[in-house]
Amino acid sequence: MLIQLTDQPIDVAAVLQAAQADGAGAVNAFIGTIRNQSTGRRVVRLHYEAYDQMALHQLRRVAEQAVEKWPMLQQVAVVHRKGTLEIGDVAVVVAVSTPHRAESFAACQFIIDTLKQVVPIWKKEEYEDGSVWVAAHP
């Protein structure tokens, strides 16, 4: 299992490599990148901030939940970026391997969906005319 927070650019190929296993024929990977717009506003860059110790603990817990739900999961790798990111930069990579492919899609989607709900990481979107902490207000 590879669970990591980093303020350096994510080496996507290395994360995929970490998710591979000789007994697993299927790797599914989700790569979240910075879009040039959000709810119609033009995004200039983003700032990510994490409560590191809790984020790592919760990431590991999400990965363990995935293994409980899909016991055939062979490898799980989750790497999340922190700091200032520009358009096109990779913010998060989730990669899992399973012997058969359907479970790889389901498990990877579960991990990214749950990550977005429970892991204490916050992003502030910077526009040309201001900035907003995403989802902070109703």
């Binding site: 901030e49 409560y51 809790m54 603990h57 999340h80 429970v118 892991v119 204490p120 902070a136 207000h137």
Partner: protein, 80 residues
């Protein structure tokens, strides 16, 4: 007892610091802490949600806080 509360994202900006030192009654509940904080910083009441983390876990409103706990405010998360 004295609590150190770690602050992130918008709560850090509202309070103006990344750690808040607070004097609270021994065994203060999570709910009681939130009420106290919202009185001091009304902008916290405007957030979509505000959770309290104790020792890296999300706490329940009735959980009691202790001086050595790692306590943090968790505004709406937006990772990914």
């Amino acid at each position: 007892m004295n609590l150190s509360i770690a602050l992130f994202g918008i709560t850090r900006e509202i309070v103006g610091s990344s750690v808040l030192q607070l004097d609270v009654p021994e065994g203060q509940s999570v709910d009681g802490l939130l009420t106290q904080l919202r009185q001091h910083y009304p902008a916290l009441g405007q957030l979509s949600s505000l959770a309290v983390a104790v020792n890296n876990e999300y706490a329940e409103p009735t959980d009691r806080l202790h001086e050595r706990d790692d306590v943090a405010l968790i505004p709406p998360v937006s990772g990914g």
